[in-house]
């Protein structure tokens, strides 16, 4: 397939971004992945590889009243096709009533290097958990 990847605003956002700092994207739903300086196999002229299609993160709302949950990612040439691909890949068994797709590059992710200052201070503060009072029966999704 060579055609569709070059259409419209299809900037190859799946490709590594240049720059001097550490660029991170939520690659493949696996959390932060550095993309700067990652070697890319050479691409023959006129041939678009799988990486030529941008990556999209997919969020699905299972039913009314729930929030959209991240379910995975996929490749698609543009937003319209990403929604359709998400429908075909992630809602084949009636999993959802609403789909969001987001360009993976639009997600700003925490870096593994920042893990300690970001997350560790919360671990020993039990008083932040709502465990010191009773939740009334019948309250769901709290």
């Amino acid at each position: 397939m060579t055609g569709p990847a070059q259409r419209g605003t299809g900037e190859p956002v799946g490709e590594p971004v240049g720059g001097t700092g550490t660029d991170l994207t939520a690659e493949g739903g696996h959390g932060a992945v550095p993309t700067a300086g990652v070697p890319v196999p050479p691409v023959a002229p006129g041939r678009v590889t799988r990486r030529g299609w941008p990556l999209w993160e997919v969020f699905i709302r299972a039913r009314r009243g729930l929030s959209h949950q991240h379910v995975g990612s996929l490749h698609a040439p543009d937003a319209v096709m990403a929604l359709r691909n998400a429908r075909d890949v992630y809602t084949r068994r009636g999993e959802g009533v609403s789909i969001w797709v987001v360009p993976a590059t639009a997600i700003i992710a925490t870096s593994p290097d920042e893990k300690d200052p970001f997350f560790d201070p919360a671990l020993d503060k039990a008083y932040r958990h709502p465990t010191f009072y009773d939740v009334p029966e019948g309250v769901s999704h709290l």
Binding site: G3, R7, V80, R84, N85, R92
Partner: protein
């Protein structure tokens, strides 16, 4: 299904208790369209340009297989000879298949498959819309379910036609070749000649395909314009699928589709 075929048949003035060959023939034609196209699309599995497209084509194939099962089961029942959907799908020969020739042509490249999908899904959308008001309750109920599926198939083909047609130089050229290759099979879709007897025997039940032409064109033509594709003007046309005349490709396809069932009759898993 909201009614049993027996009830439907007795509610239909043209039917008799010993079977209804005209209705069976008509429904078999529609079922064969869905079955043969379903098999062709299934041939894409593991071969599509992208994993995502693999699933999309497989989903469409499964939708069509579901339609084929309902239609062929119903055809077997109204025929009244005790044939099941499997008997009709796996134990008929090429000349007994009544599908339009369009659905049996090989997949070609992805553009050919998309061109075929655009033609047939736009056609099935209009056909099922018309069948919603069929006097046959089974056909009307099937149409109500199938129309939502076909609506999505049509959208899928449309999106790809736009992207391939209005894409790169190469995708445009290949889409043009694909349209030229598939358009000779369009005229047959709307030709009532081969089912004239069924249409005469089933007033208010069967749909005269020539009445679908206008709405089909009203959908397809703007898609081609937006895709920057000129509409092909073929100088030949196919005919005869509905009376069992087929291209050389159907026999090979059926051999593959039927071999398991014929080698191991009644096999299940």
């Amino acid at each position: 299904m909201t009614t049993t075929p027996t009830n439907t048949a007795s509610a239909n003035p043209a039917s008799s208790t010993t079977g209804h060959p005209a209705l069976a023939q008509y429904v078999t034609g529609l079922g064969d369209d869905a079955l043969v196209l379903s098999h062709r699309l299934a041939e894409w599995i593991t071969n599509a340009p992208q994993l995502e497209e693999d699933l999309a084509l497989a989903n469409i194939s499964l939708d069509l297989l579901g339609q084929a099962r309902t239609l062929l089961s119903y055809a077997g029942e109204v025929e009244g000879k005790g044939r099941t959907e499997d008997d009709l799908a796996y134990l008929r020969s090429e000349r007994e298949f009544r599908n339009l020739q369009l659905v049996e042509i090989p997949n070609g490249d992805f553009a050919v498959t998309i061109a075929r999908q655009l033609i047939i899904s736009a056609y099935q959308f209009e056909l099922y819309t018309a069948l919603l008001s069929s006097a046959d309750e089974t056909l009307a109920a099937l149409a109500a379910k199938a129309i939502k599926e076909v609506d999505y198939h049509r959208d899928h083909a449309t999106q790809w036609t736009l992207r391939l047609g209005d894409g790169t130089e190469q995708s445009h050229a290949r889409m043009q070749v694909a349209l030229e290759a598939t358009w000779p099979y369009v005229e047959e879709l709307f030709d009532p000649t081969d089912i004239a007897r069924e249409l005469a025997a089933l007033p208010g039940v069967a749909v005269d395909p020539s009445t679908l032409r206008e709405s089909w064109t009203a959908y397809v033509r703007p898609v081609l314009v937006e895709a920057t594709m000129p509409e092909p003007q073929p100088n030949r046309r196919s005919r005869g699928g509905r009376r069992g005349l087929h291209t050389e490709y159907l026999g090979h396809m059926l051999a593959e589709m039927q071999i398991l069932h014929r080698a191991h009759p009644g096999v299940t898993w």
